[in-house]
Amino acid sequence: MKPKRSFDLLILGGGIAGMTAAIFAARANIKAAIVEEKICGGLANWTSNVENFPSHVSINGMELMERVLAQVQKLGVEVDEAAEVVRLDFSGPFKIIETGEYLYTGKAIILATGRQPVRLQIETNCDHIHYCSVCDGSAYVGKKVLVVGGGNSGFDESLYLLSLGVAEILMVEALEDCCASETTQARLRSHGNVDIRTCTRVAEVESEGNGCQILLENLRRGTSERLYVDGVFVFIGQKANTDLFCKLVDVDSDNYVITGPNQETNVPGVFAAGDVVQKTYRYLTTAMADGTIAALAAEKYIRSMTKS
């Protein structure tokens, strides 16, 4: 029998949306707990420089998230990181999160599990495919790497790889144009050792020696080319992190949670906030707004439940 932990509000996911909700809950005297599968901070932890967060011209994403977490913990919110969720149950008046270690119960729950990187959809035995330049970039100092994806992440991470001492970057983007911000694109394009190819997709990656043999297809011309690179870094966007509960609440065709104006889902007492929600714009600031509204709406729900 796992130890039971009871709270007013459970927050599943400790990204900026979940942590913002926790701050508002704690300040409203709502006893809240964050249950996080990895570490608090979410995708912001993977961002070298956050440059669109009011109050900081530029700040490391992990540093920013550590500051928010310190505020959350100072307010007395219970934070359980590295928690493997094995079961969720929203059917009764008390919502349940069962982890490998504990059984959490709450009068309401906020789903704030965010998104996770999309993996390269290619069958390969190559173990030089990576999704984290901070973790794996150092192995490619003085070498040539392929970066897949021409969004902000692809450009930011390419700049980081170059700063580590990667000798050459080949970037491919399947669309007609790269969609990263103009300033970031200009910064990367100013380097002489960067080759950016649009309308190009990776068709094959095979292990060869200490690197990879790749097959690139030009979608405009219908041509293909084989090249050798030492490693492949993939930044092709994110998908909703809803596997645990996509059958428990209404989600759209891409598995994003459908919410009302107060971040409520179709299940009473279950709210959702941040990138996991169906919406157009996904930024730290929009996630914070969701977290704020979800916490206030959850507070109202919990108070009405206590009265009745």
Binding site: E37, K38, I39, G41, N45, W46, N60, M62, E81, A82, E84, G100, E101, C132, V134, C135, D136, S138, A139
Partner: protein, 104 residues
């Protein structure tokens, strides 16, 4: 961090690890997967308090990285009397970590 472990450096890794038994963890300060694995190790050690825990900051210790033949982080080695008995690169959850260590 509740469980600090022993911070090992390029200057002392040979002497400190020569007869070491326990978990050796290579990390980077700003690596999200390292931070996450650190939390897992922390939980693991709270349940296995007799296990020794040693940490090496990979950015500050290129010699130790080279000596252990690893270029990526997070990487965990299991040492028994200074000998490597297991190696794992990348993130694990607590269950996987417990299986990996295979401790009684």
């Amino acid at each position: 961090m509740i469980v600090e472990g022993i911070l090992v450096t390029d200057a002392d890794f040979r002497s400190k690890l020569e007869h070491a038994t326990g978990i050796l963890f290579f990390f980077k300060k700003k690596c999200p997967n390292c931070k996450a694995l650190e939390k897992v190790i922390e939980k693991f050690l709270l349940a296995n308090r007799y296990v020794a825990y040693m940490r090496i900051d990979s950015e500050e210790c290129p010699e130790a990285m080279k000596a252990f033949g690893t270029e990526r982080v997070p990487t965990i080695f299991i040492l028994r009397d200074g000998q490597i008995t297991a190696k794992k690169v990348g993130l694990m959850n607590l269950r996987e970590m417990t299986d990996f260590c295979q401790l009684p």
